[in-house]
């Protein structure tokens, strides 16, 4: 070992090993230098230049990842010029990184609900997880799922392809599903009440803002008192929205869930009348004002004081409160918002024959949601656009007509909408007997002027609409009171943020909405319909609605929810706009750290279509930062080279050879190594048979149980959903995985039937199942137990033991064609071997690259590191020729290679996979290989490691192949097959199947996932390892034993 060398890093003298890079040196000192292109599995490359540092006397900056320390080097990693240059590197990369960190739906939602996340969960049938995710940002999903005009759907990119996703309908579906499953429970019951902090908050107004704030305050142990002037809680949701849109029972349940967490509700209490703000401030630690905006604006036309001119919001409140609310036979509604439409439709339901809506602009400018306009029209409401009232006429005190003036659209006003301009001489009269004015609402809060600074000169509430913080310490505001009339989810969001602001106030801090660094396509080029021309059209699922003729006479809910099947197929329509890598993206992280401005350099973006051709890997070249990690890992680590650079300069792209779609590149082995190397979302994984969604994950360490290599892996889950499997830096894989390990665990997302099933698929209870099994066993003359080597050792042993007792012969499924002599070598192979004995020679027999790629790649790694030589025999494709020192193709090559290797004199490490060898070279080749390997084993100089496709092949095969005493029938001869873990679609009829999912059989018995991924395993070259406990007694259901 050479002496350490001294360098000066940011003013401190430190000692490092020779060959250490500056990045490693800084990391060892606890410093963080950002990087995108560096990967410890690869040689330094210096392409991203995000890690640049300053070295004294060097020309320009140097990349820390590839600059090795030399004695006396003086390095500065954090000077202002270095930071500015790094920031520019990030901004340059961001200027050509065309992608959305988060989906437009989520960003548009006022409460930023993780829409893509819950849609993804719903698409995977994880409805409970979906609901929990919604609740994080919205405690009233069933309510909002009915009333929301869903700006998210307007923003939905699917709308560019065909129709937007029915986001709100899906929200309602998962919320209703829970309510149906446990009507009395609700999620709040389950939620434990946190310890009280002793703080008390008064919330004035139990509408959506107040209720949401209560929910989030209660969750943190704050005591909450809700003061409500009406009889019941709910605010605008209860008294402003008609029952046909929101049944009271739905609202009641959600309010109950919030109150059940311990809020005190005092109804019939009005601020400014029954209690003053000063009193509340005295009694509580903080006050949240959320009284809403309940005063209707005046029409400001002559005749308005007629008692038959009603305020829209008052009218709705009276109807909703069950008070008498009469309208005449002909009703004119003035206005174009949701209150106007609700008033019009309610008028029909309380007895009007004819209802007109007059709006001074056109339908395009109407604030009401288009769906509601359509529904109102279906119900017979007549719309007149470009008309404004000039007077209300009366005869004999009774309202007789409304006079209106035609308008035309002029120049846009401050709201961006074109201003209506009267057309001279265009007056007309419509005979009506009731006029409902719905031209706007405001909050009447003059009574709060006693608290200085709370009300501005126009009579509006003062405060920050983003946080609810008002100029008066300890007083907060939220909802329509603060923002003016707006949609319910904005009030919910306001309540949520106000709650956080209050909690921060208690801690003595201030609160601001978190600013997240986000890359957005819209900042560079808004996606167009053309971008989605290749997206297959799938129509939006339609929900059932009550016929207009029937519904307009009562207050029953109009729309029903989705069915389960509809929900699944609707959720599957999601285009997954938000980046899969949002949680791990290094560009996003560094962008945030360096306060990069993604839009600093606007120019060409080089957008490319997303490549979805590969079953497991999604390639989005528009997000690629050209770091080259995927290119290098594929070539340098795997020896394959599927991905490479194309073109030059700014046009450079990383793509498979000749630009073919990744899925069509035959050389790709789907190991997903490129995905794991990609620092951004240009390469992401697709979970087989499921929808991917960027979700928060829990991480559980494990060992891959899908073959005998035994790679270190991480199971990543969100709730019960396995989202991904990623690699660990464990022996023997050192950060590598193969296709099986990374993508082969999707079966864990399939539900295991919980009970036994008969031949017709009917569930059987334990007793019935036992009867069927006993009957089958009694009737069988030549039964055969077939065991899958994929299962854990405990399971295998339990079945073997039971079979022995009953005298039933057993075979290792899929291994019976192998020559029994492998068993002798297997014994050799289980002795703890490690690849690449220093100075030795590693000899691969057969196409290990195809069957056990990680083992193969590890041998290649040792060879590249100069640790051992690498020969490949019995096989000789292009990859073999590229990576090996010598190649001996064909069966005859095995004997030749082995003899040459033994003559070579070096110590010998032999790696082979019996099943793969038999498959590719046949019986003769197997025989040749066995003879050669036997010779090598006998020489005493070779260590032989055998790899099996089943994780316990090394255990099961020697055990059963040596068991020559029991005469075994073949599968064809047997009259009853007892298949454990065996999925054999070719055999029908008399089978008993223990599996993790249904198979055609006389009897199915459940076998949990654990038997595949836990328990004891024989790992090639390392012996026995335990992957966690498996109850062998339960897996056999005690029936067979």
């Amino acid at each position: 070992m050479a002496d350490k060398i001294e360098i000066t890093l940011d003013g401190r003298k430190i000692l490092v090993e020779p060959g250490t890079t500056l990045l490693e040196a800084a990391e060892a000192q606890g410093g963080r230098i950002p990087t995108l292109c560096n990967d410890r599995r690869l040689e330094p490359y210096a392409s991203c230049w995000v890690c640049l540092v300053k070295v004294e006397k060097a020309k320009g900056f140097v990349p820390a990842c590839s600059t090795r320390a030399i004695p006396g080097m003086v390095v500065s990693t954090g000077s202002p010029d270095v930071l500015a240059a790094r920031r520019m590197a990030l901004e340059l990369l961001l200027s050509a990184h065309y992608g959305d960190c988060k989906a437009p739906c989520t960003l548009t939602c006022p409460s930023n609900i993780d829409i893509q996340g819950y849609i993804g969960l719903a698409a995977n049938g994880r409805f409970a997880e979906a609901l929990a995710l919604i609740r994080r940002d919205n405690p009233m999903p069933a309510t909002i799922g009915r009333v929301c005009p869903h700006p998210c759907e307007t923003a939905c990119r699917r709308g560019l392809a065909d129709e937007p996703l029915a986001i709100n309908g899906l929200k309602r579906f998962v919320a209703d599903l829970e309510a149906l499953a446990a009507p009395a429970a609700g999620a709040a019951k389950a939620a434990a009440r946190p310890d009280s902090t002793g703080r008390k908050v008064a919330i004035v107004g139990a509408g959506p803002a107040g209720l949401a704030a209560a929910h989030y305050l209660l969750a943190e142990g704050t005591a909450v008192t809700l003061l409500e002037s009406m009889e019941k809680a709910g605010g605008m949701l209860r008294y402003g929205i008609p029952d046909y849109r929101l049944p009271p029972a739905v609202l009641d349940a959600e309010i109950a869930a919030i109150l059940d967490r311990g809020a005190e509700l005092r109804t019939g209490v009005t601020l400014g009348k029954d209690v003053s703000l000063e009193e509340l401030r005295g009694r509580y630690d903080a006050v949240l004002l959320a009284m809403g905006a309940w005063s209707g604006r005046a029409l400001r036309v002559p005749g308005e004081d007629n008692p038959s001119v009603l305020s829209g919001i008052d009218f709705l409140r009276d109807v909703n409160a069950g008070r008498a609310a009469r309208v005449g036979r002909r009703v004119a509604v003035i206005g174009g918002g949701n209150t106007a439409l609700d008033a019009a439709r309610v008028s029909l339901r309380v007895g009007a024959d004819k209802v007109f809506v007059f709006y001074r602009r056109t339908r395009d400018e109407m604030p009401a949601s288009p769906a509601e306009i359509d529904e109102a029209m279906e119900e017979g409401v007549e719309f007149t656009y470009l008309a404004a009232p000039v007077s209300v006429e009366a005869s004999g005190g009774r309202l007789s007509a409304v006079r209106l003036l035609r308008m035309e659209l002029g120049e846009p006003d401050s709201s961006g909408r074109r201003r209506p301009v009267p057309v001279a001489g265009s007056e007309f009269t419509v005979p009506v007997d009731t006029v409902i004015s719905a031209v706007g609402q405001y909050a009447e809060i003059r009574y709060l002027e006693t608290a200085p600074g709370l009300v501005d000169e126009k009579g509006n509430m003062k405060g920050d609409p983003l946080t609810g913080i008002t100029p008066v310490p300890g007083v907060f505001a939220a909802g329509d009171l603060l923002t003016g009339p707006d949609i319910a989810i904005r009030a919910v969001a306001g309540g949520k943020h106000a709650a956080r602001a209050i909690l921060a106030y208690f801690e003595g801090g201030t609160y601001g909405r978190p600013v997240e660094f986000l890359s957005k396509k819209d900042d560079f080029r808004k996606p167009t319909a053309e971008d989605f021309s290749g997206t297959p059209k799938v129509p939006r699922e339609k929900r059932k609605a009550v016929e207009p003729g029937i519904r307009k006479r009562d207050f029953r809910e109009i729309e029903s929810g989705f069915t389960g099947a509809q929900a699944l197929s609707e959720a599957a329509r999601c285009l997954e706009c938000g980046c899969q890598d949002v949680g791990e993206c290094a560009l996003k992280r560094h962008g945030q750290d360096y306060q990069a401005v993604a839009t600093r350099f606007l120019g060409d973006i080089g957008a490319h279509p997303v490549d979805e051709s590969h079953p497991f890997i999604r390639r989005d070249p528009s997000k690629c930062v050209l770091c080259g990690r995927c290119v290098r890992i594929c070539l340098e680590v795997r020896g394959i080279g599927v991905l490479g650079y194309m073109y030059r300069g700014f046009s450079s792209v990383v793509a498979p050879s000749f630009g073919v779609p990744l899925g069509e590149d035959k050389s790709c082995i789907s190991c997903g190594q490129c995905v794991s190397a990609c620092p951004v979302g240009a390469l992401t994984e697709k979970m087989p048979k499921g929808k991917t969604a960027p979700l928060e994950e829990t991480v559980e360490e494990g060992v891959c149980a899908l073959c005998s290599v035994g790679c270190g892996i991480e199971y990543r889950r969100h709730g019960g959903l396995l989202t991904r499997v990623t690699e660990r830096w464990d022996a023997p894989n050192h950060g590598k995985l193969c296709a099986k390990g990374r993508f082969g665990h999707a079966f864990l997302n399939e539900a295991v039937p919980s009970s036994a099933l008969d031949a017709a698929g009917n569930p059987l209870d334990r007793e019935a199942a036992k009867k069927v099994l006993d009957g089958l066993l009694r009737g069988a003359k030549r039964p055969l137990l077939r065991l899958s080597a994929d299962l854990c050792r405990e399971t295998l042993e339990a079945f073997l033991e039971a079979a022995r007792r009953r005298g039933i012969p057993a075979e290792a499924y899929g291994l019976s064609d192998l020559d029994p002599r492998w068993a002798d070598l297997a014994a050799v192979g289980t002795v703890g071997a490690q690849h690449g004995q220093a100075g030795g020679l590693c000899l691969i027999v057969g196409d290990l690259a195809a069957s056990h790629n990680v083992a193969f790649t590890e041998a290649y790694r040792m060879r590249k590191a100069g640790f051992s030589g690498l020969w490949i025999c019995g096989h000789g494709d292009a990859v073999a020729r590229r990576v090996a020192d010598r190649v001996f193709p064909g069966a005859e090559g095995i004997a030749e290679a082995m003899e040459t290797a033994l003559a070579d004199g070096r110590s010998l490490e032999v790696l082979s996979a019996p099943e793969a060898l038999l498959r590719s070279l046949g019986k003769a080749g197997e025989s040749t290989a066995l003879a050669a390997l036997g010779k090598a084993a006998a020489s005493g100089r070779a260590r032989i490691t055998l790899y099996w496709s089943g994780r316990n092949g090394g255990f099961l095969f020697p055990l059963l192949s040596r068991d020559g005493r029991t005469p075994k029938p073949t599968a064809a001869e047997a009259d009853l097959l007892l298949d454990v873990g065996v999925k054999d679609g070719t055999v029908k009829g008399r089978r008993v199947v223990w599996a993790n999912r249904g198979e055609e059989a006389a009897l199915y018995l459940p076998l949990g996932h654990d038997a595949w991924i836990r328990g004891t395993s024989i790992v090639s070259g390392r012996g026995s390892i335990s992957l966690g406990k498996v109850d062998a007694g339960s897996v056999t259901c005690s029936l067979f034993a």
């Binding site: 210096a46 230049w49 240059a85 520019m88 990369l93 300069g649």
Partner: protein
Amino acid sequence: MSNRAEIAVGMSSCGIASGARVVFDVLSRETARRKLPYAVVATGCIGACHREPLVEVRGADGTRRLFGDVDEAAAVRILDSLGGAPSGLEENLIPPDAPFFARQRRIVLANCGSIDPESIDEYVAHAGYTSLRKAVTSMSPEQVIEEIKASGLRGRGGAGFPTGMKWGLSRAVKGAKKYVVCNGDEGDPGAFMDRSVLEGDPHAVIEGMAIGAYAIGADEGYFYVRAEYPLAIKRLVKALAQAEERGFLGDRIFGSAFCLRLHIKEGAGAFVCGEETALMASIEGRRGMPRLRPPFPSEKGLWNLSTTINNVETFANVASILRMGGAEFAKLGTAKSKGTKVFALAGKIRRGGMVEVPMGMPLREVIYDIGGGIRGEGKFKAVQMGGPSGGCVPESLIDVPVDYDSLTATGAIMGSGGMVVMDDSTCMVDVARYFLAFTQNESCGKCTFCRVGTKRMLEILERITQGKGREGDVEALEDLAQKIRVSSLCALGQTAPNPVLTTLRYFREEYEAHILRGECPARRCKALIRFRVDAARCTGCTLCSKACPTKAISGERKKAHVVDQGKCVRCGLCFEKCRFHAIEIRTGKDAC
């Protein structure tokens, strides 16, 4: 000097492009028919490219007469005049004391245009391979390196690294196998020195390379020559075969233990492959992308073995140095820049071509005395040195001596020797845009600042030349340029901003005129100019309206014409056609 009578035709690419092949054929045919005692031979680039095709008549008595602009008729006249006084050739005769040649000092180009590049005999007759023989038979590698060090030779590829020192470093590397590489990937627009030397005197390069190989201890080497130089490759292939046949290459050269095998690798034309690490990647069969140095090629080069890379012109100096002695060579040039430098003189210059001058000659002498100054009516504005990696030297600095360090101080560089002369009709913003477009297009795409940064700079420059410049653009350009310079992996990126930086340094007001006043002072940027007819001067000859491709000019015969600005595409044809200076180009406020 050759003793036989010859008629030599300059048959480099430049000559062939000007029609030398036809001239050669006529001369061969007619000489044979007339049974004249002359051999018609092809030779390399004679240098005076502005007068191609060139023919030199070399009498057996040693007399030489050089003719330029030779067409078929002139060729026949040349034969007619043999033995007598030239008649009707006054226009074609280029006297040996013509200013173009008088001020040059030819070392690298000594044989170029003089000998038949396809004949090893001629090279040998001109003392060819004597230096190699001397080196391998009577000098130790260390002595060779000392001699080169004494000469002060610096790399002619652009960076100017001392050659002797480079060889010394390579020599010191332990290892059984070493490579030597000749970089012939000349890629600068407007540069053709290496091509001319390879086409005109390939053996000189081979000999220099062999001496280098001997000095460092290499036994194998590569010529990396771009495939766009087919003639150079053809002559190199032939020269290598001849040298091997003579035993100047191969095993036991001149009976010594020194062995050398040289191969040719044709580059596919990526500019970045002129960068040594990218060049090596290309030879190895990988994508030509640079990597970080260190390790330098002398340490880890081709296939991780020690490799020494020198430019064509560098190697072309070596044999001469051993012949004349390092100390003698060092007498030429300045304190830190020794010897001569070959330049490709191009652009708005009266006498363009390939010239070789002693280091330290003032730029003014190169441009005015040798080049004859500006061609046409324009006024000298600047000279672009060193191609896309270089910069513009303005008129005020025209007395700068051409040596490595003086040029670097101006913000330009010596580079490989491209010298593009520009007059006042050249828009400096457009020049910067042009060179940046080149580097952006030729960036390998590996590192961020070069790949994206130069693209963003280019977009800003495009914006400015299209009249869409904004305030802050100049500052953004400067910020980008400064950071790209210090944060790029290889010289391509590090020097890419140079054309912008030097034009900003010397012509900042031109940028400002574009951005702030919508004005292109050189009247070049189409978006900022308008063609108008000066009614007072227009005679109504209709030449302009006939020439206009978009029918934008109308008017009655003998009456003043008018340009329809809506239809005008600002091609400038009318301006060129008008004989009365009646078409004006207006820019900025005047254009409205």
